[in-house]
Symmetry: C2
Subunit: 114 residues, 2 copies
């Protein structure tokens, strides 16, 4: 891998970690995996997140194409958030990270017992 | 996936993102991919990192088993840092993240042009 390829590789990884990193994004995505939820349902499901932070995170997730906002007419209007088909693209990365995270924890335990 | 599995899955992902996230870890790992380097060589290769931060990051990478410190006797003593075999366990995660990061960038470009 030459220098330029290495930098492209690094930038792509950092982009990915930026999008799925952070304290809340994955928690919000996982909370919506079963069904669409209202704002306060997400807030309750995720737990410990302020309305302001959740609002920003949802906007970010919408911009990145993972979440869509759906409005149902009526009074009061009903708004729910749901995962897009595109959010499925995250599955393989999340499985890879999850498997690696688990095996790394085992590795650390073994090394600290040795 | 029931609630408990979901939380284990999430914790494992967050562990992984914690270990390989952050501004410097991946840059330091990639800088050592070709060969072992001295402290100031890493600092020059990575660029923009202070000695104090680099020292902490190297300690963290050592504790996580990715990097080992090798001392060569002599005056002055020569110290180099190199990647461990275990750091190869990161390869598949980094490739997955890199591929996803690239395709996500394309997705965002297409959507913002639409």
């Amino acid at each position: 891998m030459d220098h330029q390829e290495c930098h492209q590789h690094l930038n792509a990884i950092e982009d990915a970690v930026y999008v799925i990193g952070g304290k809340w994004k994955l928690r919000i995505i996982l909370s919506l995996q079963q069904q669409a939820l209202r704002f306060n349902e997400i807030q309750r499901e995720v737990g410990g997140i302020s309305a302001k932070v959740l609002s920003n995170e949802l906007k970010d997730l919408e911009e990145n194409g993972f979440v869509k906002r759906r409005e149902y007419p009526g009074f009061p209007m009903k708004v729910v958030y749901e995962l897009t088909d595109y959010s499925n693209s995250l599955k393989s990365v999340m499985i890879e990270l999850s498997q690696w995270g688990r095996s790394h924890k085992e590795f650390i335990k073994r090394n600290h017992q040795a």
